[in-house]
Symmetry: C2
Amino acid sequence: MAMLMIGELARRTGVKVNTIRFYEDIALMPKAARTDSGRRTYSEADVKRLTFIRNGRDLGFSTEELKSLIGLSEHPDLDCGAAAAIARRHLLAVEARMSRLMLMRRELERVAANCDGGRMADCQVIGAIAEAPSH
Amino acid sequence: MAMLMIGELARRTGVKVNTIRFYEDIALMPKAARTDSGRRTYSEADVKRLTFIRNGRDLGFSTEELKSLIGLSEHPDLDCGAAAAIARRHLLAVEARMSRLMLMRRELERVAANCDGGRMADCQVIGAIAEAPSH
DNA sequence: CTTGATCCTCCAGTGACTGGAGGATGTATT
DNA sequence: AATACATCCTCCAGTCACTGGAGGATCAAG
């Protein structure tokens, strides 16, 4: 399998080189194998893991949460009740986020549409989003 | 209208007292009026604004983005094309986030369901989420 | 064998909080 | 009026998750 350098991994995942090294420091990414000269090498599995991390971070999960989420798929046999509990906890967070995002979207659509007309009557971005459930 | 102290505002919005003061420092919240003894006082409008900020932050918007979003509803007459542009830009970000959240949710549901059975066959949390579109 | 890109480590800075010290003020109780 | 306790104030140090840069080694191409 073709090994890639850190720069290529960065390009493929959209995660900066420095950030990848930082993720290794905090053990969110495993210690990378090195070439003789000390350069990190990565595999396709690392591309997947890092893409997952990137998506997860964008969605607001902390690095600790991502570690536990990654743990889920690394020990699929072990401790299944705990895994389900973690999954369900994250599920609740995800659903809360989605409902607020839907409200935010609806209001932004309204603003964009109203503005298109030339001038907007009353822009209630805050008013609408402020009513959204908090968690 | 009944004025409230910073602690009451914190309780009502779920934003910590220190964070409210921090938001004032960075001008995300306006400079609060003060009592004779120097204590900050707030109105219902502040509750709304801060609730909006809280929701927005939870959804991953930066404080700068929230300032521009708040600007939308504070100058509804002025610069309407710019407002629509900002709104549409945020709309794209919101939609990207939603589609990734939906993927995350589907996968977490699957994990939770599989685990319920007692043991999960293969937990593909990473695999599934890693395929999600990046933006 | 030099040039330029990429890699390495280390370290300082940023954004968005979070918590605590040290002290003043407000309210309720004795 | 005196004490107690909550809440407020300012200021400042610490945390998390990066981000960027200095200073130097390595590699691939011309």
